[in-house]
């Protein structure tokens, strides 16, 4: 036990100051101070997921500003979608979107989700989230770094950004 405590003590606080907010984003109505995010992988190469995992770690600590990942779309303010939306994931993505309460804010994360990315044009993908459900925001990158994800989501929770 003392080894654990010592290690925690020596590691100190890892969380870094919030990044400069990115370019202005479309606000998410009704959201104040906390943001429930449901992630859906619609057929990504899995590097976008690696960055999402990195994003939840101590350096970025999204929970400290009220951003948390939830298990059900019914609890979600935001649907964060990765991948080019394979045909086999189309219905599942629509169902998840439908299960969300209004206003159903959708973010396409990564080049694939934005427009199909490197997988665009294949017989098995729809070519991006906008082809399947309405999208409110995009975070491009292959994959987008956690900093960029935070810079976007931060704006959705921050108070100044309210209509």
């Amino acid at each position: 036990m003392h080894k654990i405590l010592l290690k925690i003590f020596r590691t100190g606080t890892l969380t870094e100051p919030l990044p400069e907010p990115g370019p202005p984003v479309k606000p998410c109505p009704l959201v104040r101070g906390s943001l429930a995010v449901r992630h859906v992988d619609a057929g990504s190469c899995n590097a976008c997921e690696l960055e999402l995992h990195a994003f939840t770690q101590a350096f970025y600590a999204p929970e400290s500003i009220g951003i948390r990942f939830v298990a059900s779309p019914r609890h979600a303010d935001v649907l964060l979608v990765t991948g080019p939306v394979t045909l086999a994931m189309k219905d599942a993505l629509r169902a998840a979107h439908e299960a969300m309460p209004d206003p159903r804010y959708v973010i396409a994360l990564g080049d694939c989700a934005c427009n199909g990315g490197i997988f665009r044009g294949s017989y098995a993908v729809s070519g991006g989230v906008p082809e399947v459900i309405p999208v409110d925001g995009q975070i491009p990158g292959c994959p987008p770094e956690p900093k960029r994800i935070l810079a976007y989501l931060e704006q959705l929770v921050s108070a100044e950004n309210k209509d």
């Binding site: 290690k7 992630h39 995992h53 770690q57 098995a124």
Partner: protein, 524 residues
């Protein structure tokens, strides 16, 4: 100048093993003329204790349709090419000899419409009934799915069901409760106890193989790096090896050494992430924070020195994308030393943590006997006592000079897979230290030769998860006619199913994490 190998020649099984190029593993090729000879050859491999590595189809305009099967033999990689006849578009199934061929052959049926003769499993695998006809058939070929192969994919996928009092079924996925890739698991449970689990995949199928067609090799290498993002280096290296073998252009020595640095960094980063996630799944958040920190530092160094956090696009056919300066080498070495002491400290904490060990030990047992019979490699195979590691059995430079010991455990449970990861991180860090110190001078890239007639090549690399294989067929001017990328997950997913019975439902996420297999690399 080395001569590329003409693949089409050669009688059945008679081509000797050779090491055509010092940078690639030894391989041999055989094109059995008849189904009987094919099965006979495969049976011989089985009897000699060979392992199935991969199986795939290939059909490009101007080339005969064929099924290719890759086996690991004591001396190297053995490739069989079975040509399909024009009037009978079927190929003999080898699943009765190598059960792991089942899904691979079903995938060939889904993608090409050819029937694996003798395979009783008629269910589709990658196909969810959403494409018009077999998608890999070349546009100019007039061919439709054979009636035997025609499934009715719109109907519900027929899972094997357990009947009996108190048995119920839990369907999970394709969307899981967390940041995970898409796939479906069907559990049969009684109370809290798992009786059976069956997988249903194909949700991440992106049709990657058709996207390879007609790309330049450098562009295709980018795509290979995105087959499974967590194994970008392994796939890009295997793909580049394949192109270099096909064109007969060995990469410079320095490039091979830098590739090994990239490959080991990818291994370490993934293992660190997994060790943290395994702690987290067993309720030990401390592990997640600590290993998360180590991994993030690794990724940041990657971005700083190699230009990408996951090292995508760092390996290219002909060498590597960038060189390392003296300063960078010093920085990388210093990071290795730091990480080593941190990992050691955390290992002691993990080992001494009763609660953690209680969750790990005995959970998700993969029978070493089964692992041996199926010839499983990778972290999961080694954690069930299998001595398979290409870096050890078929070392290419610099692994032939700087040796990496094989990390194994015989316990076969989650704790064994944790221990193998700890060992591998330690070995990789030591390896890096030696390689960084002795990096040879010279160029880091040499433009591969252009090919003027179709040539093929194969690359086989020990990725962090297991053996990654890439095969490529190049046309004139160095464009890709066809390519195949094989993720080790193909062979390990069926093993995961076998570890489930008898465990608690709540332990499944932990077991799954201890394998950490790729959905994208599998579904392609």
């Amino acid at each position: 100048m080395l001569n590329p190998i003409e693949w089409s020649s050669g009688p059945d099984g008679e081509i000797p093993f050779g090491t055509p190029f010092p940078f690639s593993v030894p391989f041999a090729l055989a094109s059995p003329e008849s189904p009987g000879l094919y099965l006979e050859g495969v049976r011989r491999i089985k009897e000699r204790g060979g392992r199935l590595v991969s199986l795939w189809g290939s059909w490009t305009s101007g080339a005969d349709p064929a099924v290719l099967a890759a086996f690991s033999d004591a001396e190297g990689l053995l490739l069989y090419r079975f040509r399909l006849s024009a009037d009978d578009r079927s190929f003999p199934s080898i699943a009765f000899l190598f059960p792991l061929a089942n899904r691979l052959e079903r995938a060939v049926r889904d993608l090409y419409g050819w029937d694996p003769a003798g395979l009783s499993d008629q269910r589709p695998w990658l196909d969810h009934g959403l494409w018009d006809g077999p998608p890999m058939v070349p546009q100019d070929a007039s061919f439709q799915r054979s009636p035997e192969g025609a499934d009715s994919p719109q109907e519900e996928y027929p899972f094997v069901r357990v009947e009996g009092e108190g048995v119920h079924e839990i369907p999970v996925g394709p969307i899981h409760a967390g940041i995970i890739e898409p796939g479906h698991f069907r559990f049969q449970v009684v109370g809290e106890k798992l009786l059976r689990m069956e997988e249903r995949f194909g949700f991440a199928h992106k049709g990657v193989r058709t996207l390879f067609r007609n790309r330049s090799v450098s562009d295709a290498a980018r795509l290979a790096g995105r087959v499974s993002g967590d194994s970008a280096v392994a796939f890009q290296t295997a793909f580049s090896d394949a192109v270099e073998v096909a064109t007969g252009s060995p990469p410079p020595r320095r490039a091979l050494w830098i590739r090994s640095i990239l490959l080991e960094r990818e291994r370490i980063a993934n293992h660190l992430g997994d060790l943290g996630a395994l702690g987290n799944d067993a309720g030990f958040g401390f592990g997640s924070v600590q290993f998360g920190r180590l991994k993030e530092e690794f990724l940041r160094t990657n971005a700083r020195i190699f230009g990408h956090r996951y090292l995508m696009d760092t390996v290219v056919p002909g060498g590597v994308a960038g060189d390392l300066g003296r300063q960078e080498l010093a920085l990388l070495r210093e990071e290795c030393a730091r990480t080593k002491s941190d990992v050691l400290e955390l290992k002691t904490i993990y080992d001494e943590h009763g609660g953690l060990q209680d969750r790990f030990s005995g959970t998700g047992w993969l029978d070493p006997m089964l692992a041996g019979r199926w010839g499983l490699g990778g972290v999961a195979g080694r954690a069930s006592g299998q001595m398979y590691d290409l870096r050890h059995s078929h070392p290419v430079p610099p692994y032939d000079q700087v040796h990496v010991p094989v990390s194994i455990s015989r316990l076969g449970d989650v704790s064994a897979r944790v221990q193998v990861r700890f060992q591998e991180v330690r070995h990789s860090l030591s390896f890096l230290d030696s390689v960084l110190e002795a990096l040879p001078e010279g160029p880091f890239f040499i433009q591969p030769e252009e090919t003027f007639s179709p040539f093929e090549g194969v690359g086989w690399v020990e990725g962090w998860r297991g053996e990654v294989l890439c095969w490529v067929r190049l046309g004139s001017g160095g464009t890709v006619l066809d390519a195949h990328c094989h993720d080790p997950s193909w062979l390990l997913w069926p093993a995961l199913e076998q570890t489930v019975p008898g465990n608690l439902v709540a332990d499944f996420p932990l077991i799954n994490k201890s394998f950490n297999l790729s959905y994208s690399g599998h579904d392609l």
